[in-house]
């Protein structure tokens, strides 16, 4: 009997020890656990680099899941239907915001006591609030830039500061084509990439995909002009997947393409660099804001089981000093203190361009139907690009289908 009592006591103590770490209290035996679901690549890498310090300071273990964009979206959504969620911190693309807040996927950060400080670039916070309440924090400042090969641009008689309009891009790419090189490269591997690579061109023509009342504006003169110009521009190059596009521009086999700062880190010696698009279609034309955000924001799922600790982690990751510390490992904070820091700029001069682009960027439409929207639009654009439909026919079909979607 004594043996049995001793065994039960030992079992009880060991079970208590195993389950006693939920609070993250440094004094408890086992550390608490936070699960992060992040976009794979440089975006997750910079967060992972920051975690060890937080883990030690807060006596917590952080488990990270790194997923592709589509898997991240479905991962967060599938977990949202559970009353007790698996994830404590999630990375969210700006374009999912409407759907996630409509469905109550994200926790209200204002209610949890978190607020953004004034150092965060204001334009990047545009989608983070709903009715004055904060739901997301802009973490990784991805914004479209024009990635170009320095030698090919120079061979066309241009310097980066002389690229003032889309006509200049076309002239450079046609010159490259004449020299048996590829001009403008674009990602044609799926509807999302097709649409996103085109949006900066569309914006430069003063067009957009929806109006203020969220009605599709695809079959418009601006969209048609942008599409016709885009067909001329891509005729100088070809469709490639992301990795090929970067390699082509880097080696000079291709001349330029729409890219993101997270793809490539230019240095003084690198053969490629990037600039922000001017937003003007031709010399002397009105310059529009043509930088499209692909900002990765961070938030807390509403069904997180460790909201207090998750807010602490979010605040830590958004800390100005912590964010500045991510720059050498490829981080692109949405903060003036990082992007205008003299030390940072002397080592990474391209951040000046990124800062300008982030100050005047535009988020993709914040509509719950964005996934279906870009699938429909991208499919029709693909038909136009491949000559299956004329510009008029493709845009008209896209408009009809999108109106049906949004009705």
């Amino acid at each position: 009997m004594k043996k049995l009592s001793a065994f039960l006591l030992a079992l009880t103590l060991s079970l208590t020890a195993c389950g006693g770490g939920s609070g993250g209290d440094p004094g408890s035996a086992a550390p608490a656990k936070l699960t992060l679901i992040l976009r794979a690549g440089a975006y997750a890498d910079v967060i992972k680099a920051c975690l060890p310090t937080f883990e030690v300071e807060n006596h917590v273990n952080c488990e990270v899941q790194e997923l592709s964009e589509s898997d991240l979206y479905s991962g967060i959504a599938l977990d949202a239907i559970n009353s007790a969620g698996t994830y404590d911190l999630c990375m969210v693309d700006g374009s999912w915001m409407a759907e996630f807040t409509d469905s109550g996927v994200l926790a209200n950060l204002t209610e949890l006591g978190y607020a953004l400080d004034g150092d965060v670039i204001p334009a990047t916070t545009a989608i983070c609030y709903v009715d004055g309440q904060l739901y997301l924090a802009p973490y990784y400042g991805n914004v479209t830039v024009l990635m170009y090969n320095k030698a090919n641009v120079e061979a066309a008689g241009y310097t980066p500061d002389k690229i003032q309009s889309l006509d200049d891009l076309l002239a450079i790419c046609e010159n490259a084509r004449a020299s048996d090189k590829k001009g403008f490269l674009f990602r044609g591997d799926n509807p999302n990439n097709l649409v996103v690579d085109f949006l900066p061109i569309l914006l430069s023509f003063g067009g957009w995909v929806i109006d203020e009342a969220n009605r599709p504006t695809v079959n418009t003169p601006e969209f048609k002009s942008a599409m016709e110009f885009y067909l001329k521009l891509i005729a100088t190059g070809e469709a490639q997947v992301k990795d090929d596009l970067i390699a082509s521009v880097d080696t000079g086999a291709g001349t330029m393409g729409i890219g993101w700062p997270g793809w490539y880190t230019p240095t003084a010696d690198s053969s490629a660099d990037y600039i922000a698009l001017s937003g003007a279609a031709s010399a002397g034309a009105q310059a529009y804001n043509s930088n499209v955000y692909g900002i990765w924001t961070i938030g807390i799922p509403n069904n997180s089981q460790n909201k207090d600790l998750a807010v602490k982690l979010l605040a830590y990751l958004m800390d100005p000093d912590v964010q500045k510390g991510t720059v050498p490992s490829g981080g692109v904070p949405c903060r003036y203190s990082s992007l205008r820091d003299p030390e940072v700029l002397s080592a990474y001069p391209q951040y000046e361009v990124v800062c300008q682009a982030l100050e005047s960027g535009k988020y993709r439409p914040v509509i719950a139907e964005w996934t279906q929207f870009y699938t429909i639009l991208g499919t029709e654009m693909d038909n136009i690009i491949n000559g299956v439909k004329t510009v008029d026919q493709g845009l008209s079909d896209a408009q009809t289908n999108l109106e049906q979607l949004m009705s």
Binding site: S70, Y73, S74, A77, L78, A80, I81, E99, F100, D102, S103, G104, V105, G188, D189, N190, P191, E238, A239, Q240, V241, D244, A247, S248, T251, A253, G254, A368, E369, T371, Q372, T375, T379, D382, N383, I385, N386, V388
Partner: protein, 299 residues
């Protein structure tokens, strides 16, 4: 009474029936949970507008045949069906032909059968993602070995996965390269079981190789041929990974398959009601297409 032979027979019969139920019970339970339940669930959802996220705020509502009407009205879905059927027919024909010829060749080798068998099986053992990415690298318009070789030989080069003339053919080629070894393996095993005495008797009767092939080999392995064709038909019809990784259904929907369509228009946007309707249509099509084989295989 207790020794009544009739009662005894009834008792034995009942015991045998109970034993049968006990033996088939676990299998039936697994089938009910893993196959019947998901199928019925999918069928049920196909009549609703169920969207995973929207359902958190507003329950799904019954829309009768709404999803099916939307599907069949969509020109891109019809194109996806045509692409899938075309792909399945071509893939099955080529895979069967190549697999069968390879099996005949290896089976006729006096030495080295084991080595050949192992080498030929390698493509089938690779995960589809690895296969797709390896081919993407080889066919890359930028640094791919295929274009480099073609350029060296002075032949035209292509942007293989983005060109409407080549994208479908490339997907077909990759699938044949990966799946023909499966056909080879099954048919090679079947060929091993053909009695040698039949060939000897035919030789004595003066039959040549072609006659032996059509009158001895093929009749002996016809069930394996039917099974292979059935399995490859079902598998080819479900083609998804390669399309999604390599072309995303493009260019201009020329490689879009039913599964890719369902992923793009239903699953990716969490529109599971619509996706379920597509899945049901696809199941019916696979059953129709493979019913001939099933009849044949079941005798």
């Amino acid at each position: 009474m207790r020794n009544n032979p009739l009662t005894k027979a009834h008792t034995t019969e009942r015991a045998a029936r109970r034993f049968g139920v006990r033996m088939t019970g676990p299998t039936l339970a697994v089938l009910l949970v893993m196959t019947a339940y998901p199928l019925l669930f999918t069928l049920f959802y196909s009549f609703t507008d169920y969207n995973l996220l929207k359902n958190l705020q507003k329950p799904a509502s019954f829309i009768a045949l709404g999803n099916y009407t939307r599907l069949l009205k969509d020109a891109y879905f019809r194109q996806a069906i045509l692409n899938t059927v075309k792909f399945t027919i071509l893939a099955v024909i080529f895979e069967m032909l190549i697999g069968f010829l390879t099996a005949l060749l290896v089976n006729s080798l006096a030495r080295g059968q084991k080595v050949m068998r192992t080498l030929l099986l390698l493509p089938y053992l690779l995960p589809t993602v690895t296969v797709a990415l390896s081919w993407r690298m080889m066919l890359s318009p930028n640094y791919g070995i295929v274009n480099q070789v073609l350029e060296t030989l002075g032949l035209p080069v292509f942007n293989w996965f983005s060109d409407m003339r080549t994208a479908f053919g490339m997907l077909l080629l990759i699938d044949i390269w990966q799946s023909a070894p499966f056909v080879f393996l099954l048919l090679y095993a079947a060929l091993q079981s053909v009695p040698l005495s039949q060939y000897e008797a035919a030789r004595i009767d003066g039959a040549n190789a072609v006659k032996s092939l059509f009158y001895i080999t093929i009749p002996n392995i016809k069930n394996s041929l039917a099974l292979c064709a059935l399995l490859r038909t079902i598998d080819s019809f479900r083609l998804f990974d390669k399309v999604n990784l390599l072309t995303g259904g493009g260019p201009a929907n020329t490689t879009s398959t039913i599964t890719q369509y369902l992923y793009s228009y239903g699953i990716k946007s969490l529109d599971f009601g619509f996706g379920s309707a597509g899945a049901i249509v696809m199941t019916v099509l696979v059953l129709l297409l493979s019913s001939l084989y099933i009849k044949r295989a079941m005798g």
